[in-house]
Symmetry: C2
Subunit: 216 residues, 2 copies
């Protein structure tokens, strides 16, 4: 009985995600669902991407948080159209919330849409939003064992960006162990190490992103 209820909820989310996908495709918007632990640097990655890509692509952002709008305010200062979703307690974004946000965005004027999910390495994995790619942002101080402990999230990813490489000299982090753990979960998964503080690796990230947008 309970399983049936869950199945219906997921079914409804899938239907709404498909509707979002169609709307985004019709408007030529390439969409990323950016997921990570709290404080891994999702907003920093979005800000650095806007700074590097804004001459080449019109970028929009949907910010997801339980509470507060500090991230949306930071994005807004870069001149990008942004909608803040406050989930009011919910631990993930869902396709219905995104559908509502899309109706307030100038989709015809957006080439690339970032959806910054709620900081959570578990629950967002189960909810499609209508995105083209799922980006997992991991970060050095979280430790090299995250793929082992949160395998579902990493299994669903299209790419892993590994942030805060500038902290490598100061914390224990075995990059080979991290790569091995990822390969065990998802053989084809590419890792791009970056530092949003020093800029290291961001050109590789932007170049991956441009390739994906051209493919779509």
């Amino acid at each position: 009985m309970e399983v049936k209820v869950l199945k219906n909820i997921l079914g409804a989310n899938e239907q709404l995600a498909e509707k979002n996908r169609l709307l985004l495709e019709q408007n030529g918007v390439f969409t990323l669902n950016l997921m990570s632990s709290p404080g891994a640097g999702k907003t920093s990655l979005i800000l650095e991407t806007i700074r590097r890509l804004k001459e080449k692509a019109k970028i929009g952002v949907i910010e997801g948080d339980i509470s507060s709008s500090v991230d949306a305010e930071a994005v807004s200062k870069e001149g990008a159209p942004v909608i803040q979703i406050n989930t009011g307690g919910s631990c993930h974004l869902d396709a219905n919330m995104i559908g509502n946000a899309l109706s307030s965005l100038p989709l015809g004027d957006i080439d690339l849409l970032f959806i910054e999910n709620v900081g959570n390495l578990i629950c967002p994995a189960g909810f499609a939003l209508g995105e083209n790619r799922r980006v997992i942002l991991s970060s050095i101080p979280e430790g090299d064992d995250k793929p082992l402990k949160y395998p579902v999230m990493f299994h669903e990813a299209d790419i892993v960006v590994l942030n805060k490489t500038d902290l490598l000299p100061y914390v224990k982090f075995d990059q080979d162990a991290f790569s091995r753990a990822l390969k065990g979960i998802n053989e084809r998964l590419k890792i791009i190490p970056v530092s949003c503080t020093t800029g290291q690796g961001l050109s590789e990230w932007v170049s991956w992103l441009k390739t994906q947008m051209e493919k779509s």
Copy 2:
């Protein structure tokens, strides 16, 4: 209708938590529910506490993870009795899981029980386990805005331990902003800054813990 189902689930969890609380009390076990983001250092804090307190208190540990048993293996090396719960996808521990784990622990031989919750700054807040105190572990590289973004978890806390102070010279973190945000959520909340790498602040943490155990 859906609200009613949720209410029943929470009711059942509360009942089971109360059963755990009674069993732990009868056995003279003081219990901590340790919650944080992934990679904030929960296991490191447990290991450092065992090293500092093991002559004075018999310590047991319940490890909660979606997958893997790496943390339980690390604890076991310190000679403490430990049970690993793999939630198999669930984003939090619940009182039923803890009840099952308690039946496999030598409760008569334990004075202090750590329950390391699943790394998640949202969902565990809604599920009492039968603990005496709720400890939130935050960490410097996650940023000073975490209380603003995850207010429910911090509102429910009895104490906040702020880990990885050794990284303060290398990342942006405004300790006053962190304190102010916490005070706005929970006026009486104490913050203990620590570094499990250098040992800084751990004596204050251990001393707080001993005082709480004496009170109970």
